[in-house]
């Protein structure tokens, strides 16, 4: 019998009711729409997509902070809904984007890092202090900062505090929601290296949510591309970057600007802006912006088909439905 994946999402949906405007009926947004994903132990799943695609809602579903409207999120085979809140928090932890907003400005660094231990009633005072010191050393925070307040720290140091707090309970899975987008490039590189090193040392798994594809390529082992609440393509990182299949993935990859001079600005094939999630287009949600759209795409939503390539994965696009190998070069 094969072991259950660390985290498994099966046809997960999440709908929100939003105001339709003054005196108009409330409307529903399908923020996450039929997402199935599995994250194995030691894996780093990169989740990419533009603002409003449902990345952060999906992150909150994975953390158990939101309950799915339909479908199931299972942690090592057990549904998150059945796990007591503390058990869940012990095993899955978040790291957020903004190290300025996610740390209580009135508490000292040691107290912030140690607070999960207090909440879970672990160890006595001396034991907790020892574990906080150990965590600070692990994320390379100098011990003198233990009694400092967040306001006295730089952005990079604050993100290290957030990482230490997330890891002090030794979770199995860490959900990193844009962990470096508030940081400068030189600090971003330090934090990415730290995340990489901690994964090796502690055997962690990550879900890495980022709009920065270069960051995802560097850290992730597998990548899922999200558009309007759906995973439109998923594959091993190398395979996805070498041979993107979905036209949306292709456009995203083409938009990455590398610091190599002499290249022209990419011709972004997709036009227009992101559709209104309250009124998603019929058929394939990407068809109004898709350079390869066919008549079929306007009416019929595509279903997932296997990517015809070593490394597996799947793509949700009519171009690859059925005879995937024949269409996809």
């Amino acid at each position: 019998m094969s072991e259950a994946p660390l985290l498994e999402l099966t046809s997960v949906e999440r709908r929100f009711r939003v105001s339709g405007g003054l005196l108009r009926p409330r409307r529903e947004v399908h923020a996450v729409n039929g997402v199935s994903l599995a994250i194995g132990r030691g894996e780093v799943l990169g989740l990419v997509g533009e603002s409003g695609c449902g990345k952060s809602t999906l992150a909150r579903l994975m953390l158990g902070l939101l309950a799915p409207s339909a479908g199931d999120v299972r942690l090592a085979g057990t549904s998150l809904a059945l796990l007591p809140r503390k058990d869940r928090a012990r095993r899955v932890q978040p790291i957020f984007q903004d190290p300025y907003g996610s740390l209580n400005p009135h508490r000292r660094i040691a107290a912030i890092i140690g607070s999960p231990l207090v909440v879970h009633g672990i160890g006595d005072r001396a034991e907790r202090r020892r574990r906080v010191e150990e965590m600070m050393a692990l994320v390379s925070l100098p011990p003198r900062l233990a009694s400092a307040f967040p306001g006295q720290l730089s952005g990079g140091q604050r993100q290290r505090v957030a990482i230490a707090r997330a890891l002090v309970m030794r979770p199995e899975l860490v959900i990193c929601d844009e962990p470096t987008s508030a940081l400068d490039v030189s600090v971003q590189a330090q934090i990415l290296n730290l995340l990489q090193e901690l994964r090796r040392k502690l055997g962690l798994s990550y879900v890495l949510i980022s709009h920065n594809l270069a960051v995802v390529e560097h850290l992730a082992t597998r990548v899922a591309v999200m558009y309007l609440g759906r995973i439109v393509e998923e594959a091993a990182t190398r395979s996805l970057f070498a041979a993107p299949r979905h036209p949306y993935t292709k456009a995203l990859l083409a938009s990455v600007l590398t610091p190599t001079p002499g290249l022209p600005l990419p011709e972004v094939a997709i036009e227009g802006g992101y559709p209104n999630p309250l009124a998603p287009p019929p058929g394939c949600p990407f068809h109004p912006r898709c350079p390869e759209a066919m008549p079929l795409c306007r009416d019929v939503p595509p279903t997932a088909s296997a990517r015809a390539r070593a490394g597996g994965g799947r793509v949700e696009c009519h171009l690859y439905a059925g005879a995937a190998a024949a269409v996809g070069q």
Binding site: V185, Q196, H211, L213, R238, F241, A254, P261, V268, G273
Partner: protein, 326 residues
């Protein structure tokens, strides 16, 4: 003939509780029509304050000094506020990072475009309105005429940034300063907006000063680049030269930090610049980068490096380039 914009020895000082913050210390560059100069650097390096100093939009308590600050043959240092505001929006214009805070939320975009135009050009409201529509079309806004009665909050982020650009260019300025114009946008929109700026620059022969922290943007749009660190330009030159053969240790460090798809092995660490940016309050002795620099020598702590000319239009501020041996 002299360049459109000539900046030499620009300094911006801000009094703070602990003393004087020397946010911009020694900035100099020239910019001509048809050129794109990228000011690149990390937060706090003084790139945005440099732009605000050029526009005369510094906070009131900030002090601006310069050996030279000339725009189209006029000495900006000697202009009073009235003369500056005649110039601003007309000959020199600016686009900001966050269009939602730069556009006035209580006026329609039509109103804001028409006001800008009529502030500088005597013309009827109807004529100004026609020009506004024309400019909205030029920045690629569909159904431009119907957008005039919209308020900023009714537009998407990408459209708002296009409106900002249309507003900045409505008087057909000579110089456009764009401060992180795409940082708030998604990658696909970023590419669209950068392509738009590049096209408008070609069509109008603009001088474009683009401020960014993103070396990817620099590589794709700049003709020349000035790398800033701790309030100084530490390296400047042709974009290809600076990015492929950087001479200042900071530029080299910055380039090593950027993950590039397909270039760094999945398990290899990225390059880093250890430490953090020094405080610029009070006197800054020696080279401001020395504490983070792997190549620093004893002299770096005491001697302030002067720009060393490395070729035409190419210079860097580093004692090692002055021939100080290790």
């Amino acid at each position: 003939m002299s360049a459109l914009l000539e900046v030499d020895g620009l300094a911006v000082e801000i009094p703070v509780a602990a003393g004087t913050l020397r946010a911009v210390r020694e900035v100099g560059f020239t910019l001509d029509r048809g050129e794109t100069l990228c000011l690149v650097g990390e937060s706090g390096c003084g790139k945005s304050l440099t732009a605000l100093a050029l526009m005369g939009l510094l906070p009131r308590r900030a002090v601006r000094r310069a050996r030279q600050l000339a725009f189209a043959g006029r000495d900006l240092l000697s202009l009073d506020e009235a003369a500056m505001s005649d110039l601003r929006g007309d000959r020199m214009a600016m686009v900001f990072q966050e269009p939602m805070t730069a556009l006035n939320p209580v006026y329609t975009i039509g109103n804001q475009l028409v006001e800008t135009l009529r502030r500088h050009r005597p013309m009827s409201r109807a004529a100004a309105r026609d020009r506004a529509v024309e400019h909205l079309e030029r920045v690629g806004i569909p159904a431009a005429a119907s957008r005039l009665c919209h308020y900023p909050h009714q537009l998407s982020g990408g459209l708002r940034q296009r409106v900002m650009i249309a507003m900045a260019l409505i008087c057909e300025p000579d110089l456009l300063i764009a401060d992180e114009p795409t940082t708030a946008l998604d990658v696909t929109l970023q590419a669209q907006i950068l392509a738009l700026l590049a096209r408008l620059q070609r069509e109008l022969g603009l001088a474009l000063l683009l401020i960014t922290h993103d070396l990817g943007i620099v590589a794709h749009v700049a003709t020349r680049v000035a790398v800033m660190y701790a309030g100084e330009v530490v390296e400047t030159g042709d974009v290809a030269a600076v990015l492929t053969a950087p001479r200042h240790p900071y530029t080299r460090g910055l380039l090593a930090c950027v993950p590039v798809p397909g270039q760094v092995a999945p398990d290899a660490p990225l390059g880093t610049i250890p430490g953090i940016v020094p405080s610029l309050v009070g006197e800054v002795a020696g080279c401001a980068f020395r504490e983070r620099c792997a190549e620093a020598v004893a002299a770096c702590a005491t001697r302030h490096p002067a720009p060393v000319t490395l070729g035409p239009g190419r210079a860097a501020r580093c004692l090692l380039l002055e021939g100080v041996s290790r």
